[in-house]
């Protein structure tokens, strides 16, 4: 039996894709994702998502960097290896600022990049959507909307009918395994596949 990841609709431009995402959301679909060759701001909102954790995580990274930088200098210069030069105070904090600043930036930048990669679940060499026909153009000039099979409202016939109303260039199945080519005919048996084990 064919395992279906979802249905994919292909568009030529961002505008119809955003419109499609909006209408899919209004139709009650939640488990869906858009794939585009460049970032499109309105898509996030059209898909009904909000992600705001990253800036806070980066802020924490920066704070960690500042504490590390300042603490390292303060402890080493006052306790571990005090230099007594010309009676100057051991805890000469203004001199610690440049390194504190550099480490704040360094930690925050690494947190931003590692955080983004981790939250995105990357590196992920394999993903079912790569099985979709013509998906290599998602990094070139095509715009895709995928409605996943695990969406409670997903139905092979109904969802396909719904996607057709959005006037996409093409609609096809996204198979779960790379060797089973997703042809237009096998959706009838795929309808029996529930959300099952792919639910996270």
């Amino acid at each position: 039996m064919t395992k279906i990841y979802g249905l994919i609709a292909e568009f030529d431009q961002p505008k119809p894709l955003i419109e499609a995402a909006r209408r899919a959301k209004d139709a009650g679909y939640r488990r869906m994702e858009a794939y585009t060759p460049f970032p499109i701001e309105d898509l996030t909102e059209a898909l009904g998502r909000k992600e705001s954790r990253l800036p806070f995580i980066v802020f924490l990274g920066g704070v960690a960097g500042a504490i590390t930088g300042f603490g390292m200098q303060e402890i080493s210069m006052t306790r571990l290896y005090p230099y007594l030069i010309g009676g100057k105070p051991l805890s000469s904090w203004p001199a610690w600022i440049p390194i504190t600043f550099e480490l704040t930036v360094l930690f925050a930048a690494f947190t931003a990049v590692i955080g983004m990669i981790a939250l995105n679940g990357l590196p992920q060499p394999y993903h079912p959507v790569f099985n979709a026909a013509g998906f290599e153009r998602a990094s070139l000039d095509k715009f895709f909307l995928v409605i996943e099979a695990r969406d409670p409202k997903f139905d092979m016939v109904e969802t396909r009918r719904f996607l057709e109303t959005l006037n996409p260039g093409n609609i096809s199945d996204v198979s779960h395994s790379p060797d089973e080519s997703a042809s237009e005919d096998d959706f009838s048996e795929a309808t029996t596949i529930g959300v099952g084990k792919w639910e996270i």
Partner: protein, 464 residues
């Protein structure tokens, strides 16, 4: 944004060329940029250029090899002039790097869309310039194999670096700058690496790009976080780049040598860095866009804007020179005023006059839009500015050190062949890396150019 006011002359019309030529689509721009990398036959011009650069890089390897055997005595350093070429080149290279960060971070925050087709290349330039720069302080240490002593690492002697010293700040600044620039560059590359993966026909090439692309698939939620990260990195890099050259300038100002001990140095150095960096971007970009036929994506508008930034920063540099002279007179300090008269009439006077000519006089030509529209002249001016900025660092480092307070301890610094060989060698290293970069990675950000096409052709619902 398109200009709306009428254009008076054909020159102005040329310079106001849109940042991307009309009539392009996603596929055509991607094709144009990616084929430079994916073409089967390496162009002959590339092979010749790379060959020359690689030969020069070998000069560097020989120079470093001999340096490790003999020590810094092979350079022209002596007792008053302990810094010499190593620090001159270090500051020069770091300064060149700054334009890359300025283009990719600061212009992004200011939403300057013309940065899009030049940022990738400028960031790569930053990385390679930092690599060339970072080498010099290490080579300059008498015992470069102990370079890790610069870092606060646990050691059996229980020693710590002196954190009150700008030289130690410099270690942190340059390391942070190098690493953050690398992150910025790589993050910018990820979606383009995915495009390369999808376009490559050779399986091995496909796999390599695929691995580097981390499985990027362009999902909307990924893009959303991606853009946030990119903005955050830009916001972090902006103060970082200013701090880096500020700290480099503090290496000088913390010393009491006349010509160094000045509160003007941080802004003067940061500005000079941007000036030399833009000169280097132009030096590399003008031949590149011609050779690979990229005139549709790197238009005259880009060259014009960069020339204008050079004019502005060059004028600030000129102002700084005038202020140095003014302070020398106004302070009433005889060592300061001697420093200026020594620059004008001392043993290194020809260098100082050449510096004023290259950095202050020649760039004034950029006021003319005719000259800004002339690629060849612009390219020559950019090279002259590169030379001038190198001379500036030479003047700052060498004239001040060679004649400070006590005439009995004066001495001249005469660079040896090894000084020149090491310097030319780093130019070889830099160019070698640039040539390799152009051949194996997309030199222009493809996804950002696609975004620009969508914006220009009205494919996005609304524009900000």
């Amino acid at each position: 944004m398109q200009r709306t006011e009428p254009l008076n002359t054909p020159i102005e019309a040329q310079l106001a060329e849109p940042v991307i030529a009309p009539g392009q689509d996603y596929r055509s721009v991607t094709q144009k940029i990616s084929e430079i990398v994916l073409m089967k036959n390496t162009p002959r011009g590339w092979i010749v250029g790379f060959g020359i650069a690689f030969a020069l890089m070998n000069v560097l390897l020989v120079s470093i090899g001999y340096l490790f055997v003999e020590g810094v005595g092979i350079w022209g350093l002596n007792n008053p002039v302990g810094w010499g070429f190593a620090i001159v080149n270090f500051v020069w290279w770091i300064g060149i790097g700054h334009a890359g960060t300025l283009i990719s971070a600061i212009l992004l925050l200011f939403r300057q869309e013309w940065r899009t087709s030049i940022n990738r290349f400028a960031e790569a330039m930053t990385l390679f310039a930092v690599a060339s720069a970072g080498m010099f302080p290490l080579l300059h240490m008498g015992r470069p194999w102990f370079f890790f002593w610069l870092m606060p690492l646990p050691n059996t002697m229980g020693l710590w670096p002196q954190f009150r010293s700008p030289l130690v700040w410099d270690v942190f600044a340059i390391t942070t700058y190098g690493l953050v620039s690398l992150l910025f560059w790589y993050v910018g590359l990820v979606p383009d690496l995915a495009t390369m993966r999808d376009k490559a026909s050779n399986l091995v090439v496909k796999r390599v790009y695929g691995m580097l692309a981390l499985g990027w698939r362009g999902a909307a939620k990924h893009w959303h976080r991606y853009q946030k990260t990119y903005l955050l990195l830009a916001a972090l890099s902006t103060p970082l780049v200013i701090s880096v050259h500020t700290i480099v300038s503090l290496d000088f100002t913390a010393g009491i040598i006349p010509g160094w001990h000045s509160t003007m140095f941080p802004p003067y150095f940061v500005d000079g860095a941007i000036y030399s960096g833009f000169a280097m971007v132009l030096t590399l970009m003008i031949p590149l866009r011609r050779f690979y036929g990229l005139t549709n994506v790197i238009t005259r508008r880009h060259l014009n804007n960069m020339a204008k930034i050079m004019l502005v920063t060059g004028s600030i540099v000129f102002y700084s020179y005038l202020m140095e002279m003014f302070f020398a007179w106004y302070s009433g300090n005889e060592f300061e005023s001697f420093m200026i008269s020594n620059r004008f009439g001392g043993p290194y006077a020809p260098f100082y006059w050449a510096l004023l000519f290259c950095n202050a006089v020649v760039p004034q030509a950029l006021w003319s839009s005719k000259i800004r529209a002339n690629e060849l002249l612009l390219w020559i001016i950019a090279i002259i500015v590169n030379v001038g900025m190198w001379l500036e660092r030479f003047i700052i480092v060498v004239t001040s050190l060679s004649r400070d307070f006590l005439p009995s301890s004066w001495d001249l610094y005469i660079p040896t062949g090894w000084d020149y060989a090491t310097y030319i060698g780093t130019i070889g290293l830099f160019l070698t890396l640039i040539f390799l970069f152009i051949r194996v990675l997309p030199a222009i950000s493809m996804f950002e150019v696609r975004e620009l096409v969508a914006e220009k052709e009205g494919h996005l619902p609304h524009q900000h």
